[in-house]
Symmetry: C2
Subunit: 325 residues, 2 copies
């Protein structure tokens, strides 16, 4: 199956690497809004300008759209879904219904298949929330994120006067995780589930107390959290905080029996060295499913909820049953 990538940032680079490693996939091209000559790819795949993409309509089985959820994907995914089978990692949870509707309409018009919101949250975490709630209808879900770098929040801190660079980690609070696992069905405030830790490089002579106060009181970001601020040097930031790790936990506790006498805990967790590379790996597996489902006649927009696990694997149904069931 021939895969193309549209957008070449961290996520696009991750998809390039994952597709290259898949024996049943071939990377056809990278498409970019920039001057193709200015884009240095990691492999020898050709780079084309996005304006030329329709020329390659018949050469691509699945187009992986690697762009931002805020403004790019709501336009790009429906637009491209008319001419290509597409997959994206749209992650603005509240806007998923409208993004789904627009993409479904476009894909049906073009007789194509689109899959939106692949990745780990939304994505693998969503799938686990669904499985667990279907199995244990009497129960309660908890999602914790981290320990990991929140790139958007790191950006927010960099806009504070006197900050040269910064990294923000979201950290799940261990005692909250333990309370959930114990089956106590706790109710948490925002502050009780996660704390936020900052590593900040300040300008020489900057007022660190003021910077710390601005971080801790930033509305919509950090005001509702307990925060730990560390001022470090640029060397330390580069040495100790250059990765983009992330992860988290989806836990459902529930009960069975006529009076709920038996308790059960289902826990799914991820510990990721590279958030974009793992997300890209999930997307690549779902691109395989898009290809298989399109060949079987599935059209319109689907999500991870509509994909049978077998469609993600390069192995045959017989091999899977014999080795993994």
């Amino acid at each position: 199956m021939k895969i193309a990538i549209c957008g070449y940032g961290n996520l696009g680079r991750g998809v390039e690497c994952a597709v290259t490693a898949a024996k049943d996939m071939e990377l056809f091209a990278v498409f970019t809004k920039r001057d193709p000559k200015s884009v240095k790819v990691a492999t020898d795949v050709p780079v084309y300008n996005i304006d030329d993409i329709l020329k390659y309509k018949d050469d691509i089985d699945v187009l992986v759209i690697c762009a931002g959820s805020a403004t790019d994907l709501p336009v790009m995914t429906p637009s491209l879904a008319k001419d290509f089978c597409v997959i994206d990692s749209f992650d603005t949870h509240a806007s998923i219904p409208s993004h789904f509707a627009a993409t479904d309409k476009a894909a049906k018009e073009g007789d194509k298949l689109a899959l939106i919101s692949a990745g780990w949250d939304p994505g693998m975490f969503s799938v686990n929330r669904l499985y667990s709630s279907a199995i244990l209808p009497k129960g309660k879900d908890y999602t914790f994120w981290g320990k990991g770098v929140s790139q958007g929040h790191s950006d927010a801190i960099r806009r504070i006067a006197g900050v040269v660079d910064a990294r923000q980690y979201t950290i799940p609070i261990e005692s909250a995780l333990e309370a959930v696992r114990s089956g106590k069905n706790p109710e948490f405030t925002t502050r009780e589930k996660h704390l936020r830790e900052y590593f900040v490089v300040a300008e020489d002579g900057a007022d660190k107390a003021r910077i710390e106060n601005e971080i801790k009181t930033m509305p919509n970001y950090f005001a509702n959290y307990d925060t730990i601020v560390h001022f470090i040097t640029m060397e330390e930031l580069k040495r100790d905080h250059s990765g983009i790790p992330h992860g988290g936990f989806v836990i459902r506790t529930g009960e069975t029996g006529y009076s709920g006498e038996n308790k059960h805990v289902i826990e799914y967790s991820l510990k990721l060295d590279s958030n974009p590379e793992f997300t890209a790996s999930v997307i690549t597996a779902y691109a395989r499913a898009v290809c298989k489902m399109y060949k079987r006649g599935v059209r319109g927009c689907v999500t991870v909820f509509d994909v049978a696990p077998a469609d993600l694997s390069p192995l045959s149904a017989e091999e899977i049953r014999a080795t993994m069931l």
Copy 2:
């Protein structure tokens, strides 16, 4: 959707409870090999003899077959799949391909849909092995079981002369779990992954040293494990070991990047107060999927690998996308 249960042991009782709790399901009947009058069910569902089951061919959407994998299911599932949509929890891993083939043939002959090997292992653990290996093709899987009661092994100990009753727990070795989570890709012997703990009630005056030695050297069961044997009273056994807890861990560690420079850990775990009730809850969710898939025209035999998560839920596609994605 109308569900019937065939076989009324621990698992059948669990399905009865789970179906009763599901708002979109109705429990039609329990079928038994025994005299129906001798079977006391927990609800007011009618009990019929299995010999009369064909009378109810048109009244049942999905028949849940709750019987043993050793001798019953290999005969019952293919036989019933000709006339009913069926689901079972066949768990003899090595015989899955032949059980699948026989059931697939029967279901296709009868224009029905069958799902085999639902539960947690095979079942949810299998699904997690498949998802994780598709996402991280360069990686390694580990499955640990426990802490939990192995009912077959408990039975084996009871056959030793001088043993009145016994309970055997399989316990994953914490240091092995930690070695896996650290991404070291360890290779384990049987002895290094699990240990086995026994609680044995001996006859008055029995030779405990001989019993302990017979347990520890029992071939195919315990000879390859480190074992801990406790002799307790019948009162202690009943007080402290009457439950049927189980659980376990499926962990995949893998790497991404052109030189495998980024490591990732995906972990799925279960902690279950009641093994049969949880298994029954999984089967009940998959019975819902069998019903939906049959209505869409799917025929023959399928497994958990072929079921899209959305089909397990009583919620609509719109509700799922809005609340869980």
